[in-house]
Assembly symmetry: C2
Homo-oligomer: 407 residues x 2
């Protein structure tokens, strides 16, 4: 029986509730890896719970209240009492980060905050660990999902800013009061945190200049489209003349830029440095389950020793025969009945043809087909039969097709 690992949860809104559900769902797996079974042993909201009691009964505090007070006081008190803290509070960190990080160092505890910036995109961990000693030159980030959704819709559908905002609100990508998102303030808080980590310099939210997307028009989008540019709300932190510039503003990007293709409510961050060239990371920037996943990653990281590869607890059977969509390329004699015979063999093996292109080449023809998903073994059996037909001029070529659409 794994011993319990007690988590005090401060805040129980969308992310807090999603975290509690996700933790319950993954507790067995975490116990298998760590030998400890995590459970929420206390919840503090405006209407229930007593912080001192919850703290006394916990091994780790998860702070998802948001805002400055009482979150700041609770986090400082928890660290002073020797608890690791996991928080998603970008406002708190972008205003009081130095105080909180100093307290964590003083008390020898971990203060983790992956969920504060860019949802599941693991940019905090990568900057703090993988790139701890790197000489970063620049960070560009799309760190607000609401504005990226609005700009994506404006670009794709020609919608006005107002219509795209209403749609974002309807789908839950924008809040009833979207001010902090659309005016760039939310992204500015996140860039302050990223800049602090990447450039080893204290950066307060008040030092980040920002502009929002409220004034972007359909004409701007049209211009971007005509020139093959993307228009995004970009956060930038970069070395300039021996100093540091941290700012947020709309910007046109060339189509080849790694951030230009980041669509919908996604976030993405590109870190540039001479030695690494660049790393780009992307994923959902918000959403209850996604943010809760980032919180859970931090909680589990606080439970396991660093760089440990636990013994495997599962032993999935290794499957060799997998269904896929396939592309077939045949060179055949150009005569009647060829396509029918090929299609019949495919059909007998259960392969259903999605598209065919046939092109004559003198006496021969090239037949390119895509078939709907089928077990590889059956497709290969069909291809062997087809390869043996007298009108087939060369070994058929087979390439898989990954069918999912993204974005």
């Amino acid at each position: 029986m794994a011993e319990p690992f007690r988590i005090g949860l401060l805040g129980h809104g969308t992310v807090g509730a999603a975290f509690e559900r996700l933790l319950a769902d993954r507790a067995g797996q975490i116990a298998a890896i760590t030998g400890m079974r995590p459970e929420v042993t206390g919840v503090l909201t405006r209407s229930r719970g007593d912080f001192a009691e919850i703290l006394a009964g916990s091994d780790l505090i998860v702070e998802l209240m948001g805002g400055i007070e009482p979150a700041r006081g609770h986090v400082l008190r928890a660290m002073a009492d020797g608890r690791h803290v996991v928080t998603a509070n970008k406002q708190l960190l972008s205003r009081h980060g130095e105080e909180l990080w100093a307290a964590a160092r003083e008390h020898g505890v971990q203060l983790r905050f992956e969920a504060a910036v860019a949802g599941v995109v693991p940019v905090i961990r990568v900057l703090q660990e993988s790139l701890a000693a790197a000489h970063v030159d620049r960070i560009h980030g799309i760190v607000n999902g609401t504005t990226n959704y609005i700009l994506t819709r404006m670009a794709e559908t020609g919608a006005s800013y107002d219509d795209a905002l209403v749609e974002a609100q309807r789908l839950g990508y924008a809040e009833a009061d979207p001010t902090e998102d659309v005016n760039g303030a939310d992204a500015a808080a996140k860039m302050a945190i990223l800049a602090r980590l990447a450039f080893d310099t204290p950066v307060h939210l008040d030092e980040v200049a920002y502009e929002g997307i409220e004034h972007i028009t359909g004409d701007d989008m049209q211009y971007a489209r005509d020139l093959g540019l993307g228009l995004k709300l970009i956060g930038t932190a970069e070395r300039v003349d021996g100093g540091l510039s941290v700012r947020v503003h709309p910007a046109f990007l060339y189509a080849g830029h790694p951030l230009a293709s980041v669509g919908g409510p996604y976030n993405a961050v590109t870190v540039e440095s001479d030695a690494i060239t660049e790393i780009t990371m992307s994923g959902p920037g918000a959403g209850g389950p996604q943010t809760a996943s980032a919180v859970l990653g931090d909680v589990v990281s606080a439970m396991i020793p660093p760089a440990s590869t636990p013994e495997t607890t599962d032993r999935l059977r290794l499957v060799q025969d997998v269904a896929s969509s396939f592309y077939l390329y045949l060179e055949v004699a150009d005569r009647p009945g060829v396509l029918a015979q090929v299609a019949q063999i495919l059909g007998l093996q259960g392969a259903s043809v999605k598209s065919v292109v046939q092109k004559g080449l003198g006496d021969n023809a090239r037949l390119v087909m895509v078939v709907h998903p089928i077990l590889e073994s059956r497709l290969r059996a069909a291809v062997e039969l087809i390869a043996g037909l007298d009108f087939v001029r060369a070994r058929p070529r087979v390439i898989r097709v990954i069918e999912e659409e993204f974005g």
Copy 2:
């Protein structure tokens, strides 16, 4: 004076030499963060150095020899003697990973291997830490830079496989004997490691089915282009019917797939899971300095306590006025001399016009310009002057343009 942190370096090829240079370059910064100054205190190559002596004089071992023996023996011995080990050896881990990870657990040391898979792309750390408790459904990866470079060139220039391979060799993206890269074996070793971490199941290289790109032709590429598809060498690890499939093969991808736009010698990995939706990470997949950066990230991570945010050691001046290229959008009266007057004001502030589009709209005209990089303060000064001209009908709009091309 920071105390020394002694590193024994096994192997001194391209990556080993790049690591030694990078470490020397970053040692001061690492000392500021960690209080310890890292230095290479012993180097083992085929012709110099004694392993036992190097081990005795080191706090951590970096293994960059490659191959199975003597690397395996050295790594096991180092861990048994209580040393953390950092390695980039994918062959070793994909064949003997379970033995090595068990030894690390037994001796309570860290075995880090970020550089073994996908160069600077931090996929090992993210799988082991951020996603330690996640229920991963699938991983798709472009984990071989040589083949991605060849396929990118074939797609972009219509080059044949043979010509693209020769070009890759000339540029150092392919080795003199490219067999392991182009036949998929290298990617298979990396996918075995990723699958082990993501699916908590032992996976040996021999269990990974793979195909290479040697048989891909210009016709296949043409077909892909015609249909808006990308053709990539894709490593896949996914749950199938309660089991696990791990494989490497060429595959067509729709243009919207996050991996479709990964070009040149870059690597990228997409991790899918219900709770996180998906995370995509990309960056250079090989190269001496890049791989050395991944090794250095592991070394520094072994030196600092987990989730620590060290005190800032720098205090860069925050710069508010930054040069950028700008887009200007003006609504003006449609009469002679307007463009000349606008251009003159811009010129006096030092703004050089890169492109102009003017469109008549009845009595008015719309003037859209892009200016070459200029300090924001000077551009804003010009815009204020322009806004005051009697023929300007609305407040000018200003949006930054990020000029770099990527990929």
